[in-house]
Symmetry: C2
Subunit: 337 residues, 2 copies
């Protein structure tokens, strides 16, 4: 425990991150102050949102400081503690960093977890973590899907999207998913229960719009948007009257210094529709509600989750970049120990 | 009354309309069927939305057919009638066309009007027409501004924007307007009561964003959006938490075959904000409510309106193009007779 490997942000990425923007260093394990505890991180969540935290932009949380480790949700075991309620040996989840050991304290996203309650402890980074709660509250609270409505999910095979699709089916909706590649599209239908899968690869906006229209002849009542760019524009073209777009992410734009932007906002006027941004941080106080409900559905076999675990802090960059290449097969997780 | 001059759409504009897309022709005055009446049009409203109706696009109303007169709201006097409730000599407003005589019937936007109730009969195309009702219901119903909040209006000196700004002041808000040129900006403050005017001319998105931030250090709670493009993007950068964008129009994009698009939708996530499209057609049944309330405010001197009247059907093209050049000084109206 003398060594703490940390995956540092050395430089702010200009567009797509390159390996040289980061550096894996070894530092001493820090001392604890009163009220703090030390976590041995076992798994870290790799999420598209982390790309935004690397920019020097005013956002919902401060940018990752240069030469600090890359911020990430992790789960791990308390190794030392000077905080009540977090004894040595306790599993904990929280917003920490890509490093062997994180100093943490109570509050915010930090909470004790019980591995005995879930099939795999990593589920606290997927179904029962920020990803699952984003899907749950983002779809059900922000988009308000009603039985019989049509829901379109972009990034449909991704960590959030794959859960959103299943929740929309549970809500009694027709569900259309957009994903990249035949294998992912097959998975949408076979594993996640989507009614229709659309492969966006090699298609322009007009073609995508036609394919969505064929799948949703009466229009799309809800769009759960993870992608942006031409996929969003093609989706907006198919909005039904009073449609609702839950804006969760814009992964296609995060690495672009000059994103294309949404050209079809005028469809919002035509259909008196709305786009609303959503962030899981607003629902922390209701996580227990979401966890219990999602747990019941998972136990009943109505909700499955896929996790893609890469191993080793030394592979953090490659694992992170899978999110943008779309080469991950489920929620992207990095095994640290 | 043997001649009916009609301003026809001969060709769908490719980007910015050119004079050759239209033709002024003379046709016989049509015969009436049972239930119809003939209006001698006196004034027509020229609105940015008409540009959208010229495209062959699926929208909230069908495109203007080729070789048909250009659709427009008009006011005029019944000349002949085979319809109950619309006697010869009655003033009428409705959605007709740029032509001397229109055949009309009861229903839709069509309704009798009383010139004795307003200072000028043309007010039925501004404060008490679609423009005024768009401002009233778009701001108060869709954007829900609260006392003490900050409201940003783009296209602030335009027909809708100039009314929105005054309504936002009546609602007790701080009001910022963006318009083109020093004269319009002076008018925003001196005549419409805006607290701050920002001239967008010659400024890039970053500069505009900084100027908005200076005027709204705590962010903008409501954006009433008429323009789009970099003005929308600069505005989105300044959204306050839970901000609301009422999307009324995107005039900067209507004549562009490849609009830039909104690149800052990610701000909606950061601020859990929303963009909602609005259309006055949804409020036809509540026009009386809006008319009475706006009439009271106008009578009390709290609400002024400016109209820019060009004369003659033969000047329809030039008058319409003022909307995109921004050379009109108030609600653009074409005097037909």
């Amino acid at each position: 425990m003398s060594e703490n490997r940390r995956f540092l942000l050395r430089r702010r990425p200009d567009g797509e991150p390159v390996a040289e923007d980061f550096e894996l260093v070894s530092e001493p394990v820090p001392e604890l102050a009163e009220g703090q505890f030390l976590i041995r991180n076992h798994y870290a969540s790799l999420d598209p949102a982390m790309r935004g935290w690397m920019d020097d932009a005013d956002s919902y949380m401060p940018p990752i400081p240069l030469n600090a480790p890359v911020r990430a949700s992790t789960i791990g075991i308390v190794e030392q503690s000077r905080a009540d309620g977090f004894e040595k040996g306790q599993w904990v989840m929280g917003l920490h960093a890509l490093e062997d050991y994180s100093v943490s304290q109570a509050g915010g996203f930090t909470q004790p977890i019980d591995p005995g309650l879930v099939p795999n402890v990593t589920n606290y980074l997927s179904l029962f973590g920020a990803v699952g709660m984003t899907a749950y509250f983002g779809l059900l609270d922000v988009c308000d899907p009603k039985e019989g409505e049509t829901v379109l999910v972009t990034g449909a095979a991704g960590a959030v999207g794959s859960i959103v699709g299943q929740l929309a089916k549970i809500a009694g909706c027709k569900v259309i998913g957009i994903a990249g590649g035949a294998a992912k599209c097959a998975k949408l239908v076979d594993r996640y229960g989507y009614d229709v899968a659309i492969d966006y690869r090699g298609k322009d906006e007009a073609t995508l719009a036609v394919e969505i229209a064929a799948a949703a002849p009466d229009g799309v009542d809800v769009i759960f948007e993870n992608v942006g760019g031409i996929i969003l524009d093609a989706s907006l073209t198919n909005l039904a009257m009073k449609g609702r777009v839950g804006l969760c992410g814009l992964i296609s734009e995060y690495n672009s210094p000059t994103p294309v932007g949404a050209r079809n906002l005028w469809r919002l006027i035509v259909k008196r529709a709305k786009i609303e941004g959503l962030l899981v941080a607003d629902y922390v106080e209701r996580f227990a509600e979401g966890t219990v409900q999602m747990g019941e559905w998972a136990a009943a076999g109505k909700l499955v989750v896929d996790e893609h675990v890469d191993e080793g802090l030394e592979n953090a960059y490659d694992a992170f970049m899978r999110l943008f290449a779309g080469s991950n097969q489920g929620k992207m997780i990095l095994k640290i120990a």
